[in-house]
């Protein structure tokens, strides 16, 4: 035993993160509610560009993941890490920079995303300057955490800390790997990857954002706060060990399950499927250790709202980690993908697991920080019920909608025709479900607002202990304590050695990503080239950037799967070689509107013009919002040359010096389209954004059709 030392826990930083969690949580849910209403009432955006569904949806997802859950992670880590290691955080200054830096990132996201400043990759939409800021702040968090581990007074690292370590390293790698971009200007960049490769890297990132941002850190929090709140020992130490290592090893492989039946090579898809299936048991290991820890405390679960929140959260975790692997099985994915089923699935995870666990932790933590009692246990109970019911009202209609639409897409008549050839029919069928979903969202948001009130009153009734006094003996070396590698369980040795632990975790995490991503680059047959596929013209490239800016991918896919119903509906299935110039890829993940991969040439230019101005004029009943600003605004072609150069740097084969003549080509093509519109009675200047967007839409998917494609002779 070392000599007893006195030190102080930093509670103020925990309190700050707690406030940020609650406030951003409400904001994220509010934006979620707005987009949930906009989906059936598009007029709600009032023709204001920064209120349109497709720009707010990325704001909702980013706010929910990085603002709400992100701050929740830091709140929980800063509280538990200090106590589990019996020391104050490594540096108060780093804690402060971390806190304010993270809030700045969120603020920048909240400004840039509605303005359409986006990379166009899901959950990684933020542009390159913000990406750099995220990297810096995340590294500061890492230094602060590792520093704390190094100066610890507790010899062994508890399971929660294993999860924190894995989280830190993996999120850093995912973020860096997926965000490699070539800047064109301060607010615009292109990802270095294209098409299939971009898709694989994106979903390696996207899936593991779920795994290592929404799951592993929260498992760490569960391992601290659940036994604390229940006052029961963890059910099984050895289960912790096996489920931790299995989870971090297997998770990283599962990304391709977001790309089943796409142009991704079969071998990668199969890896995505099997590693998802193997994830059931390791995920359930966490659920079991959570639920079985409550043995002997179930009577208290009936009364204590905090435990209720935690039990339902852990149960929701168990449900969504069972459903996830099921959705990764190809037959099920063929039905569920692109539908609201996926939306339901992720909301069981975020509303249930992340949301409810966060609420439970907040109700436990705030009274502790403020040396007082919870202002209203009854109120917390009410919050529990309205949140749980809200979740049910959210997910059940979404499951219903998903299955309904998936089945409608696939339905053929006896004569062999599509039963619902008009895509819109399958959407209008879902409107009542969307209505109920927004009601569920409203309930969940109401509960969260009420929680903010209860926590405010609780804080008011006490006073913050900014620096909490604690005592612990200083750390003594293994030798002094008589410990050797052979003492106790073999894993104890690792728990005493953060460096070795860190290295092992890094190796275990990296394997899956490397095995999948490296061959995708090195083996040419993964993306067979198609000679008739040509780079975009400058005007099309500008149009594509408008497509990305407006977030069209939030509702439209560009990936026709090899199913008879899809080739009947949309045309020949999509091939890997068709996307080689797509920086970023825009395959999308949800079809609220039809697939657009072969929309090129399907309608006249004037149809697109009228449709963007008022979708219902061309498609009565459509729930697509109007985009009138695209009609009004002039195309900004001041970066066209730079864009061409950036594309050349990425290997797109424009001729040398093409950047200098690109604008001439752009104007020529724009004039042609303006003329075509004129013959249909539409007068529009050739310098408007709509011209570029039409050029892009008319180019989509036509290259393999051969002779008529631009760029072929």
């Amino acid at each position: 035993m070392g000599k007893l030392e006195t030190f102080y826990y930093d509670n103020k930083i925990v309190r700050d993160f707690a406030i940020a969690t609650a406030v951003w949580g409400v904001v994220a849910m509010l934006v979620g509610l707005i987009v949930a209403i906009e989906i059936y009432w598009p007029a709600m955006s009032m023709d204001i560009s920064w209120l349109v569904f497709s720009r707010l949806r990325p704001l909702h997802t980013n706010a929910a993941i990085f603002a709400f859950v992100g701050n929740g992670i830091f709140m929980g880590v800063y509280y538990s890490l200090q106590r589990l290691l019996k020391t104050r955080m490594f540096s108060d200054l780093l804690s402060k920079i971390h806190f304010w830096g993270w809030q700045l990132i969120i603020l920048l996201a909240a400004i840039t995303l509605p303005l359409g400043i986006t990379v166009g990759k899901e959950y990684a939409e933020l542009e390159w300057p913000i990406d750099i800021l995220i990297t810096i702040i995340w590294v500061i968090f890492g230094i602060n955490m590792i520093g704390t581990i190094i100066k610890r007074r507790e010899k062994h690292m508890y399971v929660a800390i294993w999860f924190y370590i894995a989280t830190f390293f993996t999120v850093a790698i995912l973020h860096l790997g997926n965000s490699i971009e070539i800047p064109v200007s301060l607010l615009k960049s292109y990802p270095v990857y294209a098409g299939v490769q971009d898709a694989l890297v994106q979903w390696w990132y996207g899936h593991n954002a779920v795994a290592f941002f929404l799951t592993t850190p929260y498992l760490g929090l569960m391992y601290y706060f659940l036994p604390k709140a229940a006052d029961r020992p963890i059910y099984s130490y050895r289960l912790s060990i096996i489920h931790f290592w299995a989870l971090i090893f297997l998770y990283i492989w599962a990304g391709p399950h977001h790309l089943l039946y796409t142009a991704l090579p079969d071998w990668a898809q199969s890896l995505g499927t099997v590693f998802s299936v193997m994830l059931i048991a390791p995920s359930w290991g966490g659920m079991l250790n959570g639920l079985l820890t409550l043995r002997g405390a179930w009577d208290r679960v009936r009364e204590d709202p905090i435990l209720k929140f935690m039990v339902v959260a852990v149960t929701a975790y168990g449900m969504s980690t069972f459903e996830g692997p099921m959705l990764a099985i190809k037959n099920i994915n063929a039905l569920s993908h692109y539908t609201d089923w996926t939306v339901a699935h992720v909301h069981v995870g975020t509303l249930g697991w992340n949301g409810l666990l966060t609420f439970g932790i907040l109700y436990w933590l705030i009274p502790k920080l403020y040396n007082t009692k919870l202002y209203s246990v009854k109120g917390a109970n009410f919050h529990f019920w309205i949140a749980t019911l809200g979740m049910i009202f959210y997910v059940i209609p979404m499951y219903w909608a998903g299955v309904t639409q998936g089945l409608m897409w696939k339905q053929f008549t006896a004569e062999g025709f599509l039963k619902y050839p008009i895509f819109l029919e399958t959407v209008l069928q879902l409107i009542p479900m969307y209505w109920i979903r927004s009601l569920g969202g409203l309930m969940y948001l109401t509960g969260a607002c009420y929680m903010v009130y209860i926590l405010y009153k609780t804080a008011k009734s006490g006073s913050l202990t900014a620096n909490e006094k604690a005592e612990a003996p200083a750390l003594v070396s293994d030798a002094e304590e008589g410990l050797s590698a052979a003492s106790g369980h073999w894993h104890r040795w690792l728990e005493r050695r953060p460096t070795q632990f860190f290295i092992l975790a890094v190796v275990v995490v990296l394997v899956g990503g490397l095995v999948e991503i490296i061959p995708m680059y090195l083996i040419k047959s993964n993306v067979p080239t198609i000679s008739s596929v040509q780079p975009y013209t400058p005007l099309e490239l500008e149009g594509r950037d408008i497509y990305v800016r407006e977030g069209c991918y939030t509702c439209h896919s560009q990936m026709i799967r090899p199913f008879r119903n899809e080739t009947e509906r949309y045309g020949e299935y999509s091939k890997a070689g068709e996307f080689v110039y797509d920086h970023p890829f825009q395959w999308g993940s949800k079809r609220t509107g039809p697939d657009l991969h072969r929309v090129g040439g399907k309608y006249p230019d004037s149809w697109h013009y009228n449709h963007m101005l008022q979708p219902t004029s061309m498609s009565p009943g459509s729930i697509m919002p109007p985009f009138p600003w695209i009609i009004k605004d002039d195309l900004n072609d001041s970066h066209t040359a730079a864009k061409i150069r950036a594309m050349q740097a990425l290997g797109v084969p424009y001729p040398d010096g093409y950047d200098e003549v690109a604008l001439d080509d752009l104007k020529q093509q724009a004039n042609k389209i303006a003329m075509a519109l004129k013959t249909d009675g539409i007068e529009v200047e050739s310098g408007k954004e709509i011209i570029a967007l039409i050029a892009y839409l008319q180019r989509l998917g036509i290259d393999i059709k051969g002779a008529n494609a631009p760029g072929t002779n």
Partner: protein, 267 residues
Amino acid sequence: MAKKKDVLLDHDYDGIRELDNELPPWWVYLFWITIIFSVVYMFHYHVFRTGDLQIAEYNKEIDPNWKPVEADGTGGFLGIYRSPYTSPKGDVTPFIEEQFASYVGPELTSDGLIMEAMRRADEPTLNKLKADFPDLFKQLSAGGAAIVPKKAAAKETVEPMEALTDVASINKGKDIFTKNCVSCHGAQGQGGIGPNLTDDYWIHGADMAHIAHTITVGVPAKGMITWRGVLSPEQIKQAASYILTLHGTNPPNPKAPQGEKHTYPLQ
């Protein structure tokens, strides 16, 4: 050894203790089952190749008699993307002819398609095609005139067809029209993106048979989709019959006449 139950370890982290319970057996079995499933899955699809991967699955969905062909580098004209539309010998089936006609224009003949294929093929495919179709290859090397689609005939010969006149059919035709046609031809058929359907001028023929034919095959070059596949032949008949009733209704805001003037009553 006796089964350990609820053995408390000497771990204490900020008051959190840990038990040393065995892993639940069903959990262990579950884990093993998923691992075995995964190994079997990978062997089935990627080692023994006994399972159909997605393109084979698709080909069978399109043609139940489809059989995989060993890839020998001489595949059909899109190389590894050979679709079920080509026979294993590389012949173009009527089905693919129809499909590609809708891509490159309805006038392209199968010879034209094969020449197009040669134009795009990689070296080994080209050699195979050259051996199979020496005449066409000669023609291609001489300039490949056959690829250029012939000028579309203004009016195609179609089988005569009687219009439906019963109220029920006309009403059904009206519903179909409202749902599918008004976005381009206007609510009263006055025209918009598409031509006016109420005047004496017709681009692709004014009688029942020609209107039904135009709906059936569409006018892809001008953006009218092929409605075959979306509407059944009966529905196309109903829609065409309804369109005939629009003639001479003089709706407001008519689109300027397009096409050839026809004298009514039609012959």
